[in-house]
Amino acid sequence: MDDDTTGETVERDGSTADLATASGDGAGADEPDRSGVSRRWLLGAGAVGAAAVGVAAGATIASASEPDSDPSEGAAAAAVPFRGEHQAGIVTPAQDRLHFAAFDVITDDREKLVELLQKWSAAAERMTEGHSAGTTGAMNGPLDAPPADTGEAYGLPPSQLTITIGFGPTLFTKDGQDRFGLAERRPEALIDLPHFPADRLDPARSGGDLCVQACAHDPQVAVHAVRNLARIGFGVVSVRWSQLGFGRTSSTSTTQDTPRNLFGFKDGTANLKAEEPDLLDEFIWVGKDDDPAAAWMAGGSYLVSRRISMHIETWDRTSMREQEMIFGRDKGEGAPLSGGTEFTEPDFDAEGPDGEPKIALMSHVRLAHPDDNDGVQILRRGYNFTDGTDGLGRLDAGLFFIAFVRDPRTQYVPMQTKLSRDDLLMEYLVHTGSGLFAVPPGVTGPGRWVGQDLFA
């Protein structure tokens, strides 16, 4: 059955077939190829009978496999370490699927909040290793109790699951109230994002006291992670909104191809990459002297989320010439209109025979390029989404934009202000949701938990 599924692998245009190999050179490259045997079974040490079970489990995995990258095999199935200097899920090569959730804290009890973060950290570590959320797992708890884990990821490999936890401005101060004695530790950079031109934000899709970004190569694994964390949180937190994303729109490693957004373009070619440590230190990781009152953020980053709806149907009626002019890149290769190939630096001074710039002044590539933003860069990690159709039969779809920055005040806000005002693409976009979260550094030592220094 495993073989059958693999045999049906679809190579859409030749670029997808390399995915497993490509990401195999990334962070998870040291994981040996398990050749279809679920990691889940092997991780628990070489127990007698594990191999036999593994074969049986292989059948389950095959039914969940992707047509273009079988997550039961190779690096796509492997585990990404939860612990590290920085939280995983930022410079981790972007996985294919997202479930992002924002939570409201519904208790006033600081101790309960701390306990939740401890429980979340423990559960997140287990799940990223391919284990179940609770200590007794999905299948082997007492028959008279509900299972500790919800079970839908049972038998699935880790699938490079990452769980990234962040803190919204309202966790520190809400309606002028210092809710948990954290107000004076609120980082200056954790601002309330300003209103950008043409914003049409839905409060029910914006903000949140906490956020969880779960990314994986298997959507079931990502959804399982958020579902179980939400379940652990009942009584302490309540999901405010959540968003599923089905296709990464950025590459965060030079080993990855640049994917396409729902406009059909390669977007984010000039993204920051895991292989650029100096640039990451400059633009992504909060330095230890950045904000003395918020030293707990050193090694962390700020996550900007924007739910950007696309006017898909009107875009599809737009001529190819105009589409390419709006992006400033050619649609097929993603090369700048000034010439070359995808990774050729755009030449913003190049003029056509008519004397007009080859890359239009208000094109997306020009306005978003570091050259036009005082050299500032960001790490984009967004996902395509569709939430079905609206009542008029139009796709309710777009880009769930996620970016990580060292300081949103100097990196995201100026850039978005300009894009919202000038970008030709804005005619086809409307921002419907928004969030800004302080993502604390990763956890290293045993027993430590995400955000511990904030509550110290």
């Binding site: 889940r40 079974w41 991780l43 628990g44 040490a45 127990a47 007698v48 009978g49 594990a50 036999a52 079970v53 593994g54 489990a57 519904i106 423990a122 570590e125 287990r126 284990h131 179940s132 609770g134 200590t135 007794t136 797992g137 999905a138 299948m139 082997n140 708890g141 007492p142 028959l143 008279d144 109790a145 509900p146 049972y154 379940r231 009942f234 009584g235 302490v236 309540s238």
Partner: protein, 395 residues
């Protein structure tokens, strides 16, 4: 009620079955997680079935949690039983253990003599042996003290159910009389307070599969051609939607009202002989919160009268009473759970109290979406720990 009629679960076996692979997972998970259950560790008995022989690493264990870790080294699928001394009554079993695999049977056994059996091929008597459980002196579900507490709990709950049914019978008669007499104002005033007695013991009523649909079916739950009777049919006549033609002749009114009274009396008669077990109280409490979460928080139960918060309160009351009856047991076995449940019942009540009025509650339609979300959050906060109640009581 819900479209699917649920019955009180009555598990006779307290057994946990685990796959070998999951077991390796679990070992790892137990190591990385905290075991704050407070109980003693289980005794593990290794059972090896070679197909021709069934070997146990020990034939004696202290009372309490016992894990039989069964490994199939034979060539056929096998199963393992722990039987009572008579060799017939099943105390616990694991089935479908394939060649090369292991599965665990976890159970709690009281002191006494037992029989073990490996059954390769899963037919016949299999290879049998004697097994003894000695008295560990541990206070648990199998000890005399705990049995006395269970008996007190089930009696307390039975008394509550009997009392509520008594109120329900009397209230239903008054309601039916008012409706038959055409006194719609009086009937509307009696509707929600009377139904509250029903809602407080709904899982008991649901355990009589036929009565619940007759008394409590919602219009949306009807199947094609099914006759609609019960509370919600009259509810729609009393709170008729626009362009709805009421069923309104005195004869029709009498028919509906008399049926309601007769079915309620039927319920009362059947409740007289009902007996409860501790796990039914735990499951009943959980089911009542499920009712709130799926029917009342959403405003679906009282579609025409919008008196959902009366039902909400009654469901919570019923769950609280079941929990209160079990609480002495929970205090012994899991104090933390008792503390959590005490706290969450109280905060849900605080939340509900916000909507109390002189003659009951606000109507569901008067609630804002934010208020509904707050109520829902409180229901989740209680529902999650309440779902642990049964296991704590029976294990």
């Amino acid at each position: 009620m819900t479209p699917t009629v649920r019955r009180l679960l009555a598990p006779s076996l307290i057994a946990v079955v685990a796959l070998a692979g999951a077991c390796t997972d679990n070992t790892k998970e137990a190591a990385s997680g905290s075991d704050d259950g407070g109980g003693k560790g289980p005794t593990t008995i290794e059972v090896t079935d070679t197909g021709s022989e069934c070997t146990l690493s020990a034939t004696e264990a202290p009372s309490g949690n016992i894990v039989f870790s069964v490994t199939n080294k034979g060539s056929e699928i096998t199963e393992f039983y722990l039987l009572a001394e008579d060799g017939k009554s099943i105390i616990g079993e694991v089935e479908n253990i394939g060649p090369g695999l292991s599965r665990d049977l976890v159970l709690r056994a009281e002191p006494g003599s037992y029989v073990t059996a490996c059954v390769p091929g899963m037919t016949g008597d299999g290879h049998r042996g004697d097994f003894t459980v000695t008295d560990s002196g541990e206070t648990d579900a199998t000890s005399g003290e705990m049995k006395a507490l269970e008996a007190a709990a089930t009696k307390q709950y039975k008394d509550y159910v009997t009392q509520q049914v008594g109120f329900l019978v009397a209230g239903t008669q008054k309601f039916a009389d008012a409706y038959k007499a055409g006194d719609d104002d009086q009937a509307r005033a009696l509707y929600a307070p009377t139904r509250a007695y029903w809602e407080s013991i709904e899982p008991v009523a649901e355990s009589f599969g036929d009565l619940d649909p007759r008394l409590d079916l919602r219009e949306a739950d009807l199947e094609a051609g099914q006759e609609w009777t019960g509370w919600h049919q009259i509810e729609k006549q009393l709170w008729p939607p626009a362009d709805f033609t009421e069923i309104d002749t005195p004869e029709e009114r009498a028919k509906m009202a008399d049926q309601l009274v007769a079915d309620t009396q039927d319920l009362a008669t059947r409740v007289e002989t009902v007996t409860f077990k501790a796990d039914q109280l735990g499951n009943g409490a959980k089911e009542l919160l499920d009712e709130v979460a799926t029917g009342k928080v959403t405003g679906e139960e009282e579609f025409w009268s919008h008196t959902d918060l009366w039902d909400f309160q009654a469901n919570v009351d019923g769950a609280r009473l079941a929990y209160q009856a079990l609480r002495p047991i929970v205090l012994i076995k899991d104090k933390d759970l008792a503390a959590t449940l005490d706290e969450e019942f109280a905060s849900l009540q605080t939340e509900l109290d916000k909507y109390k009025t002189a003659d009951g509650f606000q109507y569901y339609t008067q609630l804002t979406p934010e208020q509904v979300k707050e109520l829902s959050d409180s229901v989740n906060a209680l529902g999650e720990p309440l779902s642990q109640l049964t296991a704590v009581v029976v294990l």
